[in-house]
């Protein structure tokens, strides 16, 4: 068990290391000098030179890389050019809507998708199964921004029941803020629910064909118990994985959704950072999101410990 944890941890560190390297590379492949890009064309040559020196851009690439690592080790993601503040705090500021949006849509998605997926798998080939899988595929085919537009049109503009955009004003209550999240979460949740549904169905199908399910039935056990206790618990492992993956995917979807709904989250920050050429913010956001993904994956691996005794052994 300790070995398992250590192995996973080592794997996580290794992947993080590659992630950091990839981010480093992405920023370096950007044509032109990052310093002059960062400072804009108004900058004097002197300003550019001093920023180059400060960022270590005048040194060999390897040294730059080491410096970059050192900076990261200190938890320093650099300074935003546009916002004039540390990237980390800018991200932290924007974390809340993204966090709630992700949780919210994940919740919406799983509450719908998991039971439906279980039932579809159980009734494989039935009308219900065919209908839901086709619907799921349809849901997965709708661009979330387009769905967002439709939702805004209908719920916010026509019916006026939910806010169009934003995240409430200063000091808005949590309830108000969450109210702003309903439509985006639905727009985002629909797409991910398709993914979760498919995975749930597939892993349930996988498990339902397993021999121990037959054993459970041969005991004289009721179908509900067979499905929920014996099958679902086993299917849970891949489902947990996909939930983790979906959480990460949602961040991706959030980029688009937040923009459509004008949510001040990490996603819209990234989009505006691209438009503003705020490279440190893009770099920081990439790092943080990828790190989150890696950490979520690690946590899921740890969750396996709780669910699957084979891992503990």
């Amino acid at each position: 068990m300790t070995r398992y944890v250590l192995q996973r941890f080592a794997g996580m560190i290794a992947v993080m290391f590659v992630v950091v390297t990839v981010v480093f590379v992405i920023v370096r492949i950007a044509p032109g000098d990052p310093a002059s890009v960062m400072l804009g064309p108004d900058a004097t040559a002197q300003d550019v030179a001093s920023l180059r020196a400060r960022l270590g851009l005048d040194r060999p690439l390897v040294v730059q890389y080491v410096l970059f690592l050192g900076q990261l080790a200190r938890g320093d993601l650099g300074e935003s050019i546009f916002l004039n503040r540390p990237v980390l705090s800018a991200l932290a500021d924007r974390a809340e809507p993204t966090f709630f949006l992700t949780i919210f849509s994940l919740l919406i998605a799983s509450v719908i998708a998991i039971p439906v997926g279980i039932y579809s798998a159980y009734r494989r080939g039935s009308l219900f199964d065919q209908a839901t899988t086709t619907l799921a595929m349809l849901a997965a085919s709708i661009p979330s921004f387009w769905l967002g537009l439709l939702l805004i049109q209908f719920f916010a503009v026509r019916l006026g029941v939910l806010p169009v955009s934003g995240y409430g004003g200063p000091g808005a209550s949590l309830a108000t803020r969450l109210g702003h999240l309903v439509l985006p979460a639905v727009a985002l949740g629909v797409v991910s629910s398709a993914l979760i549904l498919r995975f749930t169905r597939a892993s349930m199908l996988d498990v339902l064909g397993d021999d121990y399910i037959r054993t459970a039935r041969s005991k004289g056990m009721g179908e509900f118990r067979v499905v929920m206790k014996h099958a679902f618990k086993n299917a849970l492992i891949p489902i947990l994985t996909v939930l983790g993956l979906t959480a990460a995917l949602l961040v991706s979807g959030a980029v688009v959704t937040e923009t459509v709904f004008g949510l001040p989250g990490v996603g819209s920050l990234v989009v505006s950072a691209v438009l503003r050429r705020d490279y440190p913010v893009i770099q920081g956001a990439l790092l943080v999101v990828a790190a989150l993904y890696v950490i979520i994956n690690f946590l899921i691996d740890m969750l396996y410990l709780a669910v699957d005794p084979r891992v503990r052994y």
């Binding site: 661009p143 387009w146 990460a248 980029v255």
Partner: protein
């Protein structure tokens, strides 16, 4: 339950026939082919020029002349939807091609050569850690927005996803007796890779490629919609929706038709991909 041996379905000559027997796949294929044909034949089918402005006819609702209405420049929505389809499909195809070349190579090499497996697998894992749109945005931001960079960026985004599937399958195939038999015969490694490994990866690659095609089209639309992808004057379904966005509530057809085009193409791709996977994935046929 070895009592009934289901008719073995392996990717081979009978595949297409098997595939067509499924109603959903059939529908998917028909729609897909229709979309592709319409897009390909756009110059011959479409009644208007895709770029010629006709300010006098701007924002005309759908009707007998302008089937899909016109946009703010008076360009025919139907024509533009067809032309946009060419680019959207081109992006999809190119991304799949790019992802295949990179992903299959990486996956094969990682899966087949033990020594290279761990480093490549780590890189794949790391690339997968970046959410697709986010990574694509960063790459496009770094490379500068254009049709080519969007393709390259999305290719880079999806290549690891394909590589992972290829690697996993290669790991399995590598250990199969027929590969061992080839080695026992002294068949050279590259030939084993192409003839025995790659050939048997066609199905998973096909399935994965179909989905990547679908996702790439969605992603391109997303990027274009955000204004960080293809230049807005290049007609893709994404840019069309982005342009129509301002006229929502006023000229809904501008977002409606390209949106439907995306949904239809992506859906048909997924139907085909799903059917393929169902047919080719023995796990799902276990209970037959």
């Amino acid at each position: 339950m070895a009592a009934v041996s289901a008719p073995a379905i392996e990717a081979g000559p009978g595949l297409l026939r098997q595939l067509l027997r499924r109603r959903t796949v059939m529908i998917g294929l028909v729609v897909l082919c229709a979309v592709a044909l319409l897009a390909l034949l756009a110059p011959w089918i479409s009644p208007f020029s895709p770029s010629r402005l006709s300010i006098a006819n701007r924002l005309k609702p759908p009707g007998p002349v302008y089937w899909f209405g016109t946009d703010e420049f008076g360009r025919d929505g139907f024509t533009r939807t067809l032309y946009a389809g060419r680019l959207s499909l081109l992006v999809g195809v190119s991304v799949v091609a790019f992802a295949c070349v990179v992903g299959v190579t990486l996956g094969l090499v990682a899966g087949f050569f033990r020594r290279l497996d761990t480093p490549i697998a780590r890189v794949i894992d790391a690339m997968m850690a970046f959410p697709d749109i986010l990574l694509a945005i960063a790459l496009v931001a770094a490379l500068g927005p254009s049709l080519a960079t969007v393709i390259v960026a999305l290719g880079i985004v999806y290549a690891p996803r394909l590589a992972r599937v290829v690697r996993a399958s290669t790991l399995v195939i590598r250990e199969l007796p027929y590969v061992e038999a080839a080695r026992a015969l002294g068949v050279p490694t590259w030939r084993i890779l192409t003839r025995h490994v790659l050939r048997n990866l066609v199905s998973p690659i096909l399935v994965q490629g179909t989905f990547i095609f679908a996702y790439a089209m969605l992603a391109e639309a997303g990027l274009s919609f955000l204004g960080v992808g293809v230049s807005p004057e290049v007609p893709t379904w994404g840019t069309m929706i982005a342009a129509g966005r301002q006229y929502v509530g006023q000229a809904d057809w501008m977002t409606l038709f390209p949106g439907i085009a995306i949904v239809l193409s992506v859906l048909s791709l997924q139907l085909v991909g799903d059917g393929l996977r169902d047919l080719l994935d023995p796990r799902l046929r276990k209970d037959l």
